[in-house]
């Protein structure tokens, strides 16, 4: 069994990460009745005997002593991480896994990426190394961050390129939260586009999540729970936004949205953690879903969002209505895992490498250009050591060419592309 390390950067990254660890514990607790430290647990947790002086991790098979998350938490402000350390999950992390500062990045990508990136380079690599050394067979780094701010966006992408440098063989899956149009950070388009370039260059695959979509989903679930059709009671505890059964009690404002993202991560890793008749490893995701190295943005969708009290499951039918590129008409990769999420009898996660992402990128480009045209707020960035105007122009050009690659593929939609002529064998 392989292990994964979660690297959570910035406020959003750490809040989502926190929900992930809570839900992961809940899921394992549900399945692991005997309190044994099994293979499934070891993929995300180490088992530490605190009596041993070096805090040595235990081998798989023994009893659970003390679980520690395989995680590195980075934030340039202390608030969020401190809250975690005072909350019910405090035992999951020890001080060697944390990196904090006090002043924050001021919603400035350059401060996060250049300033803190250089200042903390050694320490970051050191902590990542330690986390990797605790793993028997490290398969994947999960980076969680937002695109709109300064730390998650700037320092997060710096961490990404460090991961590529120091651990080139380990898969890098990035969960990026994209700001909605009404985001209250004015410079979020700059931060997002600057970060996009890094993602395109250094990530193996990216799961883009739009805040707006999360808001819509949460609203829809709340609406279904409160109103809804008569006779279809929703089980409140088993909505995807519910943290019921986890360690944290009362739910805070972004919790519902963060739970959705956490569930996404749980589902992706389920086949690698538990048994099934058609196992799917994490390295198979990139292999099957990324036909060209830069086009690695995978749109996630998750169902069910809630469990009905008396659900009758229609047989799953894959719709043949989705237009696929001519050379990949049957481009489906399937994984089957026998262990459902808590509170559900079954769940379906779909990851789509679909040209529809270009719409998100195009909107982002619009918002960027609106600001950049006026050179608004640019001086805040250019003041930072190492930051130049060319960073901006290169970033927007990278985004434009990415959009063009998607458009190029879209252009073939609906047209009848003839099969490539086959090799002919002389008789």
């Amino acid at each position: 069994m392989t292990q994964s390390v979660v690297v959570q950067v910035g406020q959003c990254g750490n809040q989502v990460g926190c929900r992930f660890w809570d839900l992961a514990l809940r899921e394992h607790a549900h399945v692991n009745k005997k309190g044994l430290y099994d293979e499934a647990l070891s993929s995300f947790f180490r088992n530490v005997d605190s009596r041993e002086s070096d805090g040595g991790a235990h081998v798989v098979g023994g009893r659970i002593q003390h679980l520690k998350a395989r995680a590195v938490l980075v934030d340039m402000e202390e608030g969020v991480v401190n809250e975690i350390l005072q909350g019910p999950l405090r035992e999951m992390f020890d001080s060697t896994q944390l990196l904090t500062d006090v002043s924050g990045s001021g919603n400035n990508w350059a401060v996060g990426h250049m300033m803190y990136g250089s200042a903390y380079r050694e320490q970051i690599v050191d902590k990542l190394r330690k986390a990797a050394e605790h793993c028997d067979c490290l398969q994947c780094f999960f980076l969680i961050h937002s695109m709109g701010g300064g730390t998650g966006s700037g320092l997060g992408t710096r961490v990404l390129s460090l991961l590529e440098e120091e651990f080139p063989e380990v898969c890098r899956i990035v969960t990026s939260i994209y700001p909605s149009a009404e985001d209250d950070v004015i410079t979020s388009p700059y931060n997002s586009v600057l970060a996009m370039r890094e993602l395109t260059e250094h990530a193996d695959c990216v799961l883009p999540v739009e805040n707006q979509s999360l808001v819509d989903i949460v609203d829809k679930i709340k609406h279904m729970s409160h109103g809804g059709k008569p006779g279809s009671a929703i089980k409140r505890d088993s909505t995807i936004i519910s943290g019921q059964g986890g360690l944290s009690g009362a739910e805070k404002p972004f919790d519902a949205m963060n739970n959705i993202v956490a569930n996404l991560l749980l589902n992706i890793t389920s086949s690698a953690r538990f048994e099934g008749s058609l196992n799917m490893d994490l390295n198979e995701i990139a292999m099957n879903l990324v036909p060209f190295p830069r086009l690695h943005y995978l749109v996630p969708s998750l169902t069910p969002l809630y469990t009905l009290a008396d659900v009758s499951v229609p047989t799953r039918r894959l719709k043949p209505l989705l237009p696929f590129v001519s050379w990949n008409q049957e481009g489906w990769k399937t994984g089957l895992c026998s262990v459902p999420p808590v509170g559900h009898s079954h769940a379906l996660l779909a990851l789509a490498n679909n040209t529809c992402v270009k719409l998100t990128f195009m909107e982002l480009r619009e918002r960027f250009i609106k600001l950049y045209r006026k050179k608004a707020h640019l001086h805040h960035y250019l003041h930072v050591d190492g930051m130049e105007q060319s960073c901006f122009s290169e970033a927007i050009s990278s985004l434009s060419s990415l959009i063009e690659e998607y458009q190029h593929l879209d252009a073939t939609k609906g047209t009848l592309v003839p099969d490539a002529p086959r090799l002919r064998i002389a008789r």
Binding site: M1, T2, L278, N283, N288, V290, P291, V325, W327, R422
Partner: protein
């Protein structure tokens, strides 16, 4: 003589387990001493305590499936796998043939060779090696190909049979066609015979003949194991002089794959029905054989939906390609009959020269094995192993799709990363186009 089986990857290990399970229950059924001894000798090694230990080596790049197969075998109480006859790593091949063939294969070849050698040495005499794998993924296909290459080098005089499971046309692995093309092209040079099961076909058998509602891979693997078992269990051949043949793989290979360009073998078995219906059914050899013959000619893999309109060309038309597009021309066939009254079965229909190409006589093209012992609870069972055009269309589809994808160079960077070049792809495509051309010319 004994067969050593190498189970590779998830599919190879799951199907392999089903196979040994069926063979063991068939061998231990009832009072059939000679058959039972022959079967056990062929597939199992008996410990001093009388335990049956499968002559098998289990290989995978990640541990879950092997652990499952080993524990399920042990739970059966009738047989088990050898304690140290397996090798796994922590991280799989990521559905990447190049990762399997260029990285994992060479890295672990010494261990694999050692495990196989131990099993071979436990045999009094080696009948041959059987490698079981799928072609769609990364380990079975990539590591399996590399392992076959090593075994071919170490045992140049032994028969090597590769059992391949071809994936569902859609939905398993996106790069399955690349992995399949690379595997088949390489195996063609290494293997003595390539026996193929297609998931789509077996799935139809499960749904239409066995009436299974929610078909799982367990069901699919059960059918494959049944068909494979009916080929490999002891049988009497024309040359075995009234005893069970001691050289099953040799007989199979010399009967069917006499020409290096024609190595693809397909299987069909009749009857296939839910065990609940068996008590109410009666079988007659004439009826079974008539259906089986038409299944061969019309290239139908099961006894439902047979096209009775297809018929072999009449005498004068034989010289040219006047066969209808749906007529399946055979190079060679092996018919295996098991069960009651097997000596009274008339098989003349299969000796019709119109079924085969003209370059082999009917005696050479048709092989018949019999066993009076009912197999796997079927009172009568007939299996046809064919070297014919039956796999031509699926092979052509597979190569066509892979070629289309290759034309846009999609996913190629994933393979190049591990050491396979575009040249290697082109070589594989060329080899398979050659195979397709050869089989097309049979008619």
């Amino acid at each position: 003589m004994s067969i050593v089986t190498v189970q590779l990857g998830q599919c190879g290990n799951q199907v392999g387990h089903e196979l040994f399970d069926i063979i063991c229950s068939d061998a231990l059924e009832g009072q059939r001493k000679v058959y039972s001894t022959a079967s056990c000798e062929r597939f199992f090694h008996q410990t001093t305590h009388g335990d049956l230990v499968a002559r098998a080596v289990l290989i995978d790049m990640e541990p879950k499936v092997i652990n499952q197969s080993i524990s399920r075998a042990a739970k059966s109480g009738r047989w088990r796998y050898g304690e140290s006859s397996h090798f796994s790593q922590k991280q799989g091949s990521g559905n990447n043939w190049a990762n399997g063939y260029c990285v994992h294969g060479p890295r672990h070849s010494a261990v694999v060779e050692e495990l196989v050698r131990r099993e071979v040495e436990r045999c009094d005499r080696l009948a041959g090696l059987m490698a079981m794998m799928s072609v769609a993924g990364g380990t079975g296909s990539g590591v399996g190909t590399y392992a076959t290459q090593c075994l071919r080098d170490i045992y140049p005089k032994s028969f090597i049979l590769n059992h391949l499971t071809w994936p569902y046309r859609t939905g398993e692995v996106i790069v399955q066609n690349y992995n399949s093309v690379l595997t088949l092209a390489h195996l063609y040079q290494l293997s003595d015979a390539i026996l193929v099961h297609e998931n789509d076909t077996v799935h139809r058998i499960c749904s239409q003949l066995l009436n299974i509602k929610h078909i799982s891979f367990g069901d699919v693997n059960g059918v494959i194991a049944h068909q494979l078992g009916s080929i490999l269990q002891p049988a009497l051949t024309a040359d075995s002089h009234g005893v069970y043949s001691r050289n099953p793989l040799g007989d199979l290979v010399s009967g069917l794959t006499c020409h290096p360009e024609y190595k693809l073998l397909s299987v069909c078995t009749i009857p296939q029905m839910p065990s609940s219906s068996m008590a109410y059914s009666t079988f007659s050899w004439p009826s079974l054989l008539k259906h089986l013959r038409q299944m061969l000619i019309s290239n139908t893999k099961m006894e439902e939906g047979i096209d009775w309109q297809v018929c072999p060309p009449a005498g004068s038309e034989r010289a040219r390609s006047f066969t209808g597009p749906s007529f399946n021309t055979s190079l060679a066939n092996l018919l295996i009959l098991r069960g009651k009254e097997v000596y009274s079965a008339e098989t003349d229909g299969f000796e019709d020269p119109a079924l085969h190409t003209s370059w082999l006589s009917s005696e050479e093209a048709f092989n018949l094995w019999k066993s009076p012992v009912p197999f796997n609870k079927y009172e009568k069972c007939a299996t046809l192993v064919s070297n014919s055009q039956a796999l031509l269309r699926p092979l052509d589809n597979m190569v066509g799709k892979a070629w289309n994808m290759f034309a846009s160079r999609a996913y190629i960077h994933q393979y190049v990363k591990f050491g396979i070049s575009e040249e290697d792809f082109l070589d594989s495509f060329t080899s398979l186009e050659q195979v397709i051309s050869s089989y097309s010319q049979l008619s």
